[in-house]
């Protein structure tokens, strides 16, 4: 089902024409209205008139999180504040929060793209949507909320936390669609079982999960435990919020980028040279239509590649491969790059391992140490020491095979790893560098 078939299935040439027109427009707008962008463009000697074709985007300077911080809070806004109707901000866990703004038109556009996303995931106006993304400065809650309303579905704005109550509400309201982080979906599934509720008796049939990287094995785990289709949604506040790209329920393979509003590029993660779309690198986005907070060539720090094959769902938008790591999450262990999602992938492939784990990085002398804590579920547990020791060895060997890093696997008691209420914390880095 489509929310906006005309655009979602538009022939590529027509799409490119719209993209170019919109790109020229946004570059002119930031040049004229945001002194910071104007100065950056003047530095490299590029004028808006130099953008004659889409590839000319490569002449423009990148924008980074650092640029956003330097202009805290409203320095990069391209409209006067009286046109701004809403502010969101990133959590600021890695420093000063980054602040973004929206005009009325931006909010409407975002709601439309989020409605498209929900539709692509298989939702319709008949659905009751349980929205457990946090409401507040975080874009997840309100972004998904407005999209669900634009779709015409019934929204339950439950927000994060109070998991037992959420389960009750979900059951009593017969919610059919769940929106939350993947780690919180597992917390919900576990809580259902604890409350004596069989997840398969819920009316839920699809979940749209995002805001943190998750592995394919995690997807299988969620689909099995909740008996639903698990769809990946992508977005970041700097670009808009959730709804920048979405998997279609038909394929669940790659996320269709809303290319009429966002222009994706892939660049080399170190040299920042543009890479062919099919190659893996850092994702870069330019917003084509946003008014209050347009961004030019924003380096997302997310690693992906672009799939240009036709999709069976009929959408002509290119797909980005599921993001399994952000450079922010990347750990360097004894010189090897390791993403938490790679460790998750190994853990989930071992029969009986619960999707609750913690990665602890430390340094003894000059040597980095990696410890993976895994909860012992009843299905893993044995009264024989050697069975449990073989299990930890098996996980160690598989992590070593995949990542080339040796680690220590520690078995811990059930529930000793804190459950996610939103974005899960997977890594504790104790190194003092």
């Amino acid at each position: 089902m489509f929310f906006d078939k005309e655009y979602e299935c538009m022939p590529r040439e027509a799409l490119a024409a719209i993209q170019l027109k919109r790109l020229q427009d946004v570059v002119a707008r930031v040049y004229d209205n945001v002194p910071y962008y104007q100065a950056k463009m003047d530095d490299v000697g590029v004028k808006p008139a130099d953008i004659k074709e889409l590839a000319d985007i490569q002449k423009l300077p990148f924008t980074t999180k650092e640029d956003l911080r330097k202009n805290y809070p409203f320095g990069l806004f391209a409209v006067p504040m009286d046109e701004v109707v809403r502010i969101h901000a990133s959590s600021g866990t890695t420093g000063q929060p980054t602040v973004v703004g929206y005009t009325k038109a931006d909010i409407k556009m975002w709601a439309g793209l989020m409605a498209r996303s929900l539709c692509a995931a298989g939702a319709s106006p008949k659905d009751t949507i349980h929205n457990a993304y946090g409401y507040g400065l975080f874009t997840g809650g309100l972004g998904a909320h407005y999209g669900a309303e634009a779709l015409g579905a019934t929204v339950v704005p439950v927000s994060g936390g109070n998991t037992k109550r959420q389960v009750m509400v979900m059951r009593d309201f017969k919610s059919t669609v769940l929106l939350c982080t993947p780690s919180y979906a597992l917390n919900l599934a576990e809580t259902m079982v604890e409350q004596g509720i069989d997840p398969s008796e819920m009316a839920l049939r699809v979940g749209v999960f995002g805001a943190e990287p998750w592995s394919e094995n995690m997807r299988s785990e969620i689909q099995d435990k909740l008996g639903i289709k698990a769809i990946d949604i992508y977005g970041l506040s700097e670009i808009m919020g959730p709804g920048v790209s979405i998997e279609c329920v038909e394929e669940q393979r790659g996320l269709h980028v809303m290319e009429d509003h966002f222009l994706p590029e892939i660049v080399h993660p170190d040299s920042f040279e543009p890479l062919p779309l099919g190659e893996k690198g850092e994702l870069v986005f330019t917003t084509l239509t946003k008014q209050a907070f347009p961004v030019i060539r924003y380096r997302t720090k997310d690693f992906s590649r672009i799939i240009t094959d036709e999709c069976s769902c009929g959408r002509t938008f290119y797909r980005m491969e599921k993001v399994t790591g952000r450079s922010d999450d990347m750990m360097i262990i004894r010189g090897v790059n390791v993403f938490p999602s790679q460790i998750e992938h190994v853990l989930m492939s071992v029969e009986g391992v619960e999707p609750h784990y913690m990665i602890i990085v430390d340094r003894h002398g000059s040597l980095d140490t990696l410890e993976v804590q895994v909860e012992v579920s009843e299905s893993l547990f044995s009264d024989k020491i050697n069975t449990l020791e073989n299990l930890t060895k098996q996980i160690q060997v598989e992590i070593k095979d995949l990542l080339g890093v040796s680690c220590k696997v520690t078995l811990v008691e059930p529930k000793s790893i804190q459950r996610s209420e939103g974005k899960a914390q997977r890594v504790i880095d104790k190194r003092k560098i």
């Binding site: 012992v376 579920s377 009843e378 547990f381 044995s382 009264d383 024989k384 020491i385 449990l388 020791e389 520690t410 078995l411 811990v412 008691e413 059930p414 529930k415 000793s416």
Partner: protein
């Protein structure tokens, strides 16, 4: 001839044994026999109690990982060579003991040895044929 044993996963941190025994005490569970197997990081506590199902249930409710296993309990004479005779039977039968531990009866006249085998039925068969007395679950739970 099979006796139910519960096994509990324990992280290697102080107070866990005290927690478990307190939970059992509050629920009137009596421990008949126990053994603790430990490694550097974790331990496995194995218990035979007077009410296996209830003990398993309450420990689970208190957040522990609990498993149940079947073991056999053999009576051995409390004199030199008592255990050696039983172990010889096991050796002759080419059976591998996963683990074993001992406790005594109130009378003190004979020792009781708990054996965990992978090939449990074969072990029962062999020991009975060699006139080793095996205790029934009811006998052990009510010691």
């Amino acid at each position: 001839m099979k006796v139910e044993q519960i096994a509990i996963f324990l992280e290697n941190k102080s107070g866990r044994m005290a927690d478990i025994t307190a939970i059992l005490a509050q629920n009137g569970i009596n421990i008949r026999a126990m053994s603790l197997a430990d490694t550097a990081d974790f331990g496995i506590l194995r218990l035979i109690v007077n009410d296996t199902e209830r003990a398993r249930q309450i420990l689970k409710e208190n957040g522990f990982t609990v498993g149940t296993t079947e073991v056999i309990v053999a009576e051995v004479e409390d004199k030199p060579g008592g255990l050696a005779r039983v172990l010889q039977v096991i050796k002759d039968g080419n059976l591998n003991i996963e683990y074993m531990y001992a406790f005594t009866q109130k009378s003190g006249e004979s020792g009781l040895i708990i054996f965990r085998f992978d090939e449990l039925d074969k072990a029962i068969d062999m020991l009975l044929k060699s006139d080793v007395r095996l205790l029934s679950g009811e006998e052990v739970y009510s010691i």
